[in-house]
C-alpha cells in the first residue's frame, strides 16, 4: 500500500534482479532522463566495486491537480545472492517491482533463480506476488551474447507481466520500463486512493507527471 500522509501519497517502487543486471544503471538513467516537477538527489548508500551493498534510492514526484503530492521512491536491491536478507528488507513494503533480467545467455540461470527468490521473498515479506504491479525488463540488449528477443518473448508469452527490452547502458527502454510500471501501479491503486475521482488524476496524467512529460491531450 502506498504511504499516504496528509497531502502526500508515496509509492515505493523496487528494481529487483540478479547481480550486475543493471538495476543501479536503470536508476542512474532515470535520474538523467526524467524531468518531473520535483526531483531529489540519487542516494547510493554503499557500494563495493560498483556492486550495491544496501540500496540506491531515487526520490521524485509531482503535484496532482488536487494539490496532492505524488511521490515516487525508487529503490534498487543488492543483486548478489549473499545479500538475501537485505534484499528482502528492501523489497518489504514495495508497491511495484521492475524485475531487471540480464539478457546475456550465460545469465539465464541467474535470472531464473532471482525471479524465483522474488516470488518467495514477496510472500516472506507479506506481498501478494500474484497481484503486485510487476514489469519484466530484459536489459543489456546491446550485448552480442544476448538471447534473441523472439526466444525470450516465446518463453514469457504466457506470463501476465509487461515485457520490455532495454539497454540501460545506452539508455534504451529504461523509461519505457518505468512507464509500464507506472501504468500497472496506477491501475492497481487508482481506485482505492481515489486518484481520478478525488485528485483529478487519470492514468496518462499520472504517467506524464512522473516522467515530466506533457500529458497527451
Amino acid at each position: 500500500m502506498p504511504d499516504s500522509e496528509a497531502g502526500k501519497l508515496s509509492f515505493k517502487l523496487v528494481y529487483y534482479g540478479p547481480a550486475q543486471s543493471g538495476k543501479t544503471t536503470n536508476l542512474l538513467r532515470l535520474h538523467e532522463q526524467l524531468s518531473p516537477e520535483l526531483k531529489g538527489e540519487m542516494m547510493t548508500l554503499e557500494t563495493q566495486d560498483d556492486r550495491t551493498l544496501f540500496f540506491d534510492l531515487l526520490p521524485f514526484g509531482f503535484r496532482a491537480p488536487s494539490g496532492l503530492l505524488i511521490k515516487f521512491r525508487l529503490f534498487t536491491v543488492p543483486g548478489q545472492v549473499a545479500h538475501d536478507g537485505t534484499r528482502k528488507a528492501v523489497l518489504s513494503r514495495s508497491d511495484g517491482v521492475v524485475f531487471v533480467a540480464d539478457s546475456d545467455r550465460a545469465q539465464e540461470t541467474n535470472n531464473a533463480e532471482s525471479f524465483q527468490t522474488l516470488a518467495e521473498n514477496c510472500s516472506r515479506v507479506g506481498l501478494d506476488f500474484e497481484h503486485l504491479p510487476l514489469v519484466v525488463q530484459f536489459n543489456k540488449r546491446d550485448l552480442p551474447t544476448a538471447v534473441p528477443e523472439a526466444e525470450i518473448r516465446a518463453r514469457w508469452e504466457s506470463a501476465p507481466w509487461p515485457l520490455v527490452f532495454a539497454s540501460a547502458l545506452r539508455g534504451d527502454g529504461v523509461e519505457e520500463s518505468f512507464e509500464a510500471l507506472l501504468r500497472s501501479t496506477y491501475r492497481h491503486y487508482a481506485e482505492s486512493h481515489e486518484l481520478a475521482s478525488r485528485h483529478g488524476l487519470d492514468e496518462d496524467m499520472f504517467v506524464a507527471g512522473a516522467l515530466g512529460r506533457q500529458a497527451a491531450p
Partner: protein, 400 residues
C-alpha cells in the same frame, strides 16, 4: 513510530539533542544568534522562530522537512547554511537508513535461519520417527520369527516324540502278544504234566526224586507272576500309546486328572531314588484340549520337578494337585528341590534357555510348556526359591 528503514524522517529525529548541542552554537556564531531551526509543524528545535524575516526550507528528498528562520541575516548566508544543514541531514538520514536496514536484514536472515532450522528439525523428527518405526517393525518381525521357529521346533519335537512312542508301542506289542500266548500255552502243558503223574505208577519214585511236585507248584507260581508282569507291560504300553498320541491334532473333551494319572504312571518307574510323587486330585470339569500336547507338558513338568529334587541331592516329594472353581481349573506341581535364582526365574521362559548342560535336557523347555498353556488360553506362573523348591501353577479357564 515504526523502525522501517525506508520511512521518511522527521527533522527532530535527524537533529536530535546531541547534534543540536554541537551545531546550534556554531550557527549562532555565524549569524550572531539570529537563527532558528523549525520543524515542519512549527515547533522550534533551535532558537526562537518569530515568523518575520527570511525563511529557507530544509529539503531532504523532495519536500521540506523543516525551515531555517532568521530576521536579518543576508539571504546568501542563510542559503549557505541551508546547504550545509541539508548535507548534514542527508548524512544523518543515510546513517539511520543504513542501520535500520541492517537490523531488518539481520532480522530477515535470522528469520530465514529460524525457518530453515525448524524445517531441519521437522525432517529430523520425521526421520527419527521413521527409524523408530522401522526398529519396532524389525523387533516385531524378529519376535514373530522366533515364535514361528519355536513353534516349528516344538511341533517337530512333539511329532517325533509321538512317532517314537507309537513305534515303540507297536514294536513291543507284537512280541508281547506272542510271549503271552506262548506262556499260557506252556501253562496248559504243565497241566498235562500233572495228569501224567497219576498214570506213571512205578515212576513215582523218580518223580519224587526229581522233586517234580515242587517244580510243578513253583512253575505255576512263576508263570502266574510272569503273566502279571506281562499284563503290566501291556498296560504301560497301552498307556504310552494313548499318552503319546500327539499326532492326534484334533481337540478332545477330556479330564485333566486322567492326563495327570497317565503322566504320573509313566514317570513313576523313572523316578530317581528317594523321590516320590503324590497326587491330590479333586474332581474337574471336562476341558476341550489337545490331550497329546497336554500330556507331554504335564509329564515334562513332573520330570523337571523330580530332577530338581535329585539335583538338590536329597529325598523329596513331587506334589501334584488339581482343583476347579467356576473360573477354571488350577493344577499345581510342586517340588522341594534346588529351586531357581531370580535371574534364572526371569529367563526361564526364554526359548532354548536351560540351566542344565546342553544336550542333557530331555524334556521340553518351559517356553514350550508355556506355549502349550497359551494355546489352551491358559496361564502359567512360576514361584521359586533357591534350595527351597519350585511351584508351577497352571490355570485353564473353563467356558461357562
Amino acid at each position: 513510530m515504526s523502525d522501517n528503514f525506508d520511512r521518511e524522517w522527521r527533522l527532530e529525529e535527524l537533529l536530535d539533542a546531541a547534534v543540536l548541542d554541537r551545531i546550534g552554537p556554531a550557527l549562532d556564531g555565524l549569524l550572531a544568534g539570529d537563527v532558528a531551526i523549525v520543524g515542519i509543524d512549527g515547533t522550534a528545535l533551535w532558537g526562537v522562530a518569530t515568523g518575520e524575516g527570511l525563511r529557507e526550507p530544509l529539503v531532504l528528498e523532495l519536500e521540506p522537512v523543516g525551515y531555517l528562520h532568521s530576521r536579518q541575516a543576508a539571504q546568501a548566508s542563510l542559503k549557505a547554511i541551508r546547504c550545509l544543514l541539508e548535507q548534514l541531514l542527508r548524512t544523518q538520514a543515510r546513517y539511520k537508513m543504513a542501520s535500520n536496514l541492517h537490523l531488518e536484514a539481520v532480522a530477515e536472515d535470522f528469520e530465514s535461519l529460524r525457518l530453515e532450522h525448524a524445517k531441519l528439525q521437522e525432517s529430523e523428527a520425521r526421520y527419527k520417527a521413521l527409524s523408530a518405526d522401522l526398529e519396532n517393525r524389525v523387533k516385531a518381525q524378529i519376535v514373530q520369527l522366533e515364535e514361528r521357529q519355536q513353534m516349528l521346533y516344538e511341533a517337530e519335537r512333539l511329532a517325533t516324540v509321538g512317532q517314537l512312542a507309537a513305534g515303540v508301542a507297536h514294536e513291543v506289542n507284537n512280541p508281547l502278544g506272542f510271549v503271552r500266548s506262548n506262556l499260557s500255552t506252556f501253562q496248559n502243558y504243565l497241566g498235562k504234566f500233572a495228569q501224567l503223574k497219576a498214570t506213571l505208577g512205578e515212576g513215582e519214585a523218580a518223580w519224587r526224586r526229581l522233586d517234580l511236585d515242587f517244580v510243578l507248584e513253583d512253575g505255576q507260581d512263576l508263570l502266574t507272576d510272569t503273566l502279571k508282569g506281562i499284563d503290566r507291560i501291556a498296560r504301560i504300553v497301552a498307556e504310552l500309546k494313548s499318552f503319546s498320541n500327539v499326532d492326534r491334532a484334533s481337540e478332545e473333551f477330556s479330564d485333566l486328572n486322567d492326563s495327570l494319572h497317565h503322566a504320573a504312571n509313566v514317570i513313576e518307574g523313572q523316578l530317581p531314588s528317594g523321590v516320590s510323587i503324590r497326587l491330590n486330585l479333586l474332581p474337574l470339569p471336562g476341558l476341550v484340549c489337545l490331550p497329546g500336547h497336554i500330556n507331554q507338558m504335564l509329564l515334562n513338568l513332573m520330570r523337571n520337578a523330580a530332577q530338581a529334587i535329585a539335583d538338590a541331592g536329597r529325598s523329596g516329594e513331587v506334589r501334584v494337585s488339581s482343583e476347579a472353581d467356576e473360573e477354571g481349573i488350577t493344577i499345581r506341581i510342586q517340588d522341594n528341590g534346588v529351586g531357581m535364582k531370580p535371574e534364572q526365574l526371569a529367563r526361564a521362559f526364554e526359548p532354548f534357555y536351560t540351566t542344565r548342560p546342553v544336550g542333557s535336557g530331555a524334556g521340553l523347555g518351559l517356553s514350550t510348556v508355556r506355549n502349550i498353556v497359551l494355546a489352551h488360553s491358559g496361564r502359567i506362573t512360576l514361584e521359586s526359591e533357591p534350595d527351597a523348591g519350585t511351584t508351577v501353577t497352571l490355570f485353564f479357564p473353563v467356558p461357562k
